[in-house]
Amino acid sequence: MQVNDMLAVGLNHYLFLSAIIFSIGILTVLLRKNLIVILMGIELMLNAVNLSFIAFSHFSNNANGPVIVFFVMTLAAAEAGVGLALMVTIFKRFKVVDISIFEKLKN
Amino acid sequence: MGSDLVEVLINSVKLVLIFLLMVQLVPILVWVERRGSAFIQNRYGPNRVGPFGLMQLLADAVKFVFKEEFVPGKGHKLIFYAAPVVALIPGALAFAAIPLANTFHLEPFMFLGESWGPYDINFQGYNVGIGIVFILGVSSLGAYALLLAGWGSANKYSLYGALRAVAQMISYELALGLSIVGAILVYNTFDFHSIIAQQAGALSFTISGRELGIPFLPNWGIFYQPLGAFLFLVAAFAETNRLPFDLPEAESELIAGFHTEYGGMKMLMFYLGEYGHMLVASALLVTFYFGGYQLPFVSHVMIEDMLKSFGLGINMANVLTAFLFFTVFMIKCLIFLWIYVWVRWTLPRFRYDQLMDLGWKTMLPWALANTIVTAVVVFLARI
């Protein structure tokens, strides 16, 4: 009985997992210095939100969630593409991919 | 994985056997490749060890095991060792999703003093339902093995070979993915079983309510999607880095490409991955355009009935029929694998810019045109 209670996975389990992943994504964005890793943190946050969309749609019997996830994936890919294009340009100019480059933008 | 012990057992054994089938096919394919190229070039090829040189593979395998272990000095050890293992996984996962024979039915039978069954057993590793999309997804992971190998060996030729290979793979993945859209429009499903079932019988079209049939041709996808099949074949050649698209391994420019620093068993594992990809591509081609495991005009029920009329039991007849269809499927696959070898010695290698131009400016527009024409024809035929 106890084990079965533990193993019955409901919506809140998925939401909790999603919250953890989202927080790790936020921490990656806030703490890391490397710009590309920061971009990866954003991807992680988007994926956490996708997971909660899918979980909601699974537990409420609704097909809207996957469609929105599809859209989010598209936009995330577009964002990653433009973001990495910027990174390559920044790397060419400054030889580093670091948030410290923003201090050099003054002059 | 199954509801009781026997089903779980059958499914597990099936998974391992399908993987071993893939692994075992590789030495045979290497032999076919070496003998075949020798045949095309009018020489003997390996013919000393065993009959027709068949034992050469065994000798090679033993040699591979006793090769010296080597990691380049500047290389990254973990990544260097991980790359060949990663190379194995996509091919194996993709191949296990393809049905190799018809689903057969087992009546209840006695085993270990208990009665088990009835079962319906798929002749495939697992039935994912979204078939082709799953395979596209899994095989798109193949790029990592190349990238890891190229970066892990800390050799500029390896890195360049890997980058070239990845750029080529992803360019042709577009054409590959788009060439299948036409077939999906015709079949209206992702599921392999359903696709194969729709290719049974003789060729017949339904155009705005009227039935047109060509009784002497099988109802195979190739007759609906000839351009799609051709584009798929070409894109599959490029995906597997085979000649004439083997730019990543162009030995005159890049030594041996991404596996320059690899030797022994690790090198062999890259070969396993590459031949696994070839096998998956051939199996997909057979499934989509050449009727899958089916014999033309013959359904599995007919063969089962025939076997039963010879006095075989129901279970025995069903199992034998499944194995017959499995043989048919493998023969069809081997024909396409032979085409791989054949083309290798027929067409010269492309230049890199020609390769990219072919992928982006020729194959992609043609695949797009194929999709549009198919959609319009399907619309006009069904309205």
Binding site: L7, A8, V9, L11, N12, H13, F16, L17, A19, I20, F22, S23, I24, L27, L31, R32, K33, N34, I36, M40, G41, E43, N47, N50, A55, S57, H58, F59, N61, N64, P66, F70, F71, M73, T74, A76, A77, A80, G81, A85, M87, V88, T89, F91, K92, R93, K95, V97 | V128, V133, F134, L136, G137, S140, L141, A143, L147, L163, V166, I170
Partner: protein, 172 residues
């Protein structure tokens, strides 16, 4: 039953890989960890009975976006960073605290509303068909779908324009 075991296994792996993205000192290994978490997420979508989205996750994220990330990492050949975190100890502690508070809030909300969710939700047993998804995509969300096409076109133009910018001594 088996779903529960699978969920906990995948959740453990997912958190492990995500922490790897956050903590690993080499950006290349961070990106490889992100690849791992994408693959685990795809398995989790499969568990949630949306196999098509799971496959798309593999194709788009693991097979395309992350290949680009890893490729760029390898091109730059970034070394292990000695100092991987920005800012000082106090500001980082505040950031960690805020993120932890955020996770706690959502988690607490999720657990307090257990009754409501499990009471009202009827768990779906059949697989979400691609057809019902396509109905929504091409009828209800038609405008958004076409706009996405235009956005993808704009991004393609933008990426080409950005890559044309001259600067530095890097080979172009």
């Amino acid at each position: 039953m088996i779903t529960g075991y699978l969920f906990y296994m995948l959740a453990f792996l997912l958190i492990l890989f995500s922490l790897g993205v956050l903590m690993h000192s080499s950006p290349l290994f961070s990106s490889l960890n992100l690849v791992g978490s994408m693959i685990v997420l795809s398995a989790m979508y499969y568990l949630l009975q949306v196999p098509f989205i799971a496959a798309v996750q593999l194709i788009v994220y693991a097979g395309a976006v992350m290949v680009l990330f890893v490729m760029v990492m390898m091109m730059f050949d970034l070394k292990h960073e000695i100092k991987i975190f920005s800012g000082g100890f106090i500001s980082n502690a505040i950031k960690c605290g805020l993120a932890g508070f955020f996770a706690f809030t959502i988690g607490a909300t999720a657990f307090m509303s257990t009754e409501m969710i499990s009471g009202s939700a009827k768990v779906k047993t059949e697989v979400l068909s691609v057809k019902s998804m396509a109905q929504l995509l091409f009828k209800d969300y038609l405008i958004e779908f076409e706009v996405l096409g235009v956005i993808l076109l704009l991004v393609a133009v933008g990426a080409v324009a950005l890559s044309r910018i001259k600067g530095g001594t890097h080979a172009s």
